[in-house]
């Protein structure tokens, strides 16, 4: 289906979904980029910032699809929207730890590894579903993203398993991070109040199907490191898909958009 043959409701559903996908990767990429220069060793600095760059590319592509659907310029969509307009899940907006990347950063690598691994596995499940999306431009993008995700997943899975199989301290910190991340998994597979609309047009699998596929994917990995999926990880508090967010998001957006805000009219 192309843009011109879309009925208004179908178009609305695509737009709603695209904002969620775009904002997710935008914030995920930003939090990844904050590790630049701070990662545990130099090769990791190269790897994690490369993953952040890829992910920012994915966000840019989703914003461009929104641009094609008449939502406005992709740069403006990325930078000019307020935090209550954002549709990303809570997990990706969380800070990396106390302090800022410029000074006194006390970032937790265990948290980064757990968040990145679990987010990437969830993204992989969604992207594979999007490859069958009824909206062809989105399906095409998903094919492209899926190839890059292969490397991201390989990377974070290696860290995840190795740290959980390492020293007592590493394992304890990873387990703490795991609890923290799972507590924020409430809205990762939620489409918020737009769930019904998105479902009608076969843009992506439903929330429950995606979640089950994700559980099936990670269960063997979790078992290999003696971890279990907590039963209560979907008893929600905030739902980012409906525009509910923590103050961490505002902090991220003001840094991300600092240069853009100096002069939004400048062409890059």
């Amino acid at each position: 289906m192309s843009i011109t043959t879309l009925n208004p409701e179908n178009k609305k559903a695509i737009i709603k979904l695209l904002y969620q996908l775009a904002d997710d990767d935008f914030l995920y990429a930003y939090r990844g980029s904050e590790w630049l220069g701070l990662a545990p060793h130099i090769e990791e600095d190269v790897a994690s910032s490369s993953i952040a760059q890829d992910s920012m590319g994915h966000a840019a592509m989703f914003y461009r699809l929104l641009e094609e659907l008449g939502e406005g310029n992709a740069d403006d969509l990325a930078h000019a929207r307020q935090s209550h307009e954002r549709k990303n899940c809570i997990l990706v907006e969380r800070v990396n730890g106390p302090g800022s990347y410029m000074e006194n950063a006390q970032y937790d690598w265990a948290y980064a590894v757990v968040r990145n691994y679990l987010y990437t596995t969830a993204k992989k499940v969604k992207i594979q579903s999007l490859k069958q999306s009824s909206y062809q431009p989105l399906a095409d993008v998903a094919v492209k993203v899926d190839m890059e995700l292969h490397y991201h997943l390989l990377h974070w899975k290696t860290w995840f398993i190795q740290l959980l199989s390492s020293t007592d301290e590493a394992r304890a910190r990873m387990k703490d991070a795991y609890v923290q991340v799972m507590n924020d998994f409430t809205d990762v597979f939620s489409f918020g109040k737009d769930a019904e609309l998105i479902k009608v047009y076969n843009l992506i699998d439903t929330e429950s199907v995606l979640k089950q596929k994700w559980i099936d994917t990670i269960t063997p990995v979790l078992e290999s490191v003696q971890l279990e999926i907590p039963e209560t990880f979907d008893t929600g508090k905030l739902n980012g898909r409906n525009g509910d967010h923590t103050k961490d998001l505002q902090g991220a957006l003001s840094i991300l958009s600092e240069v853009y805000d100096m002069n939004p009219a400048v062409a890059w």
Binding site: A47, D54, V141, K144, L154
Partner: protein, 166 residues
Amino acid sequence: MCTTIQRSKEAVLQVLANVKDPEIDTVSIIDLGMVEGITIENHTVKVEILPTFVGCPALEMIRGNIVKAVNKLEGVEETTVTFINSPPWTSDRITEKGIQGLKEFGIAPPPKYMKEDGSWHVDCPYCSSTYVTLDNIFGPTACRSILYCKSCKNPFEAMKLISSTM
């Protein structure tokens, strides 16, 4: 007569063969298999390009270089470049000339296939030794990895395998 020849597809292809990867001056965008379509309508040339990696910051530079080069052709008044995602770029689109160009630059061409565990192997582009170690799947650009040759003791890079079977 002359303008017709200048505006032929072949002429455009010839020009594009001189548009290099901004970071690897031994390979062109044709060698890399990035050029998917060329359409000529009157005095306008439309070029369709497949990005190797979605977030590649060199894309805008490549766009500029294509426009500059094609606009020099006689009879061409406007050149537009569109980045498209279908078909997806895969590393097997790199031509034989591209493979030679990469090696010349000290970059191992992408491996042809992936092992069952998702890993892959390349030989050293300098000495062809197979005794290499993968230092980092990620490298200085999105499309490259960092390796080390145990035989000739050179660090080197490899183009990542990108395939639709991944």
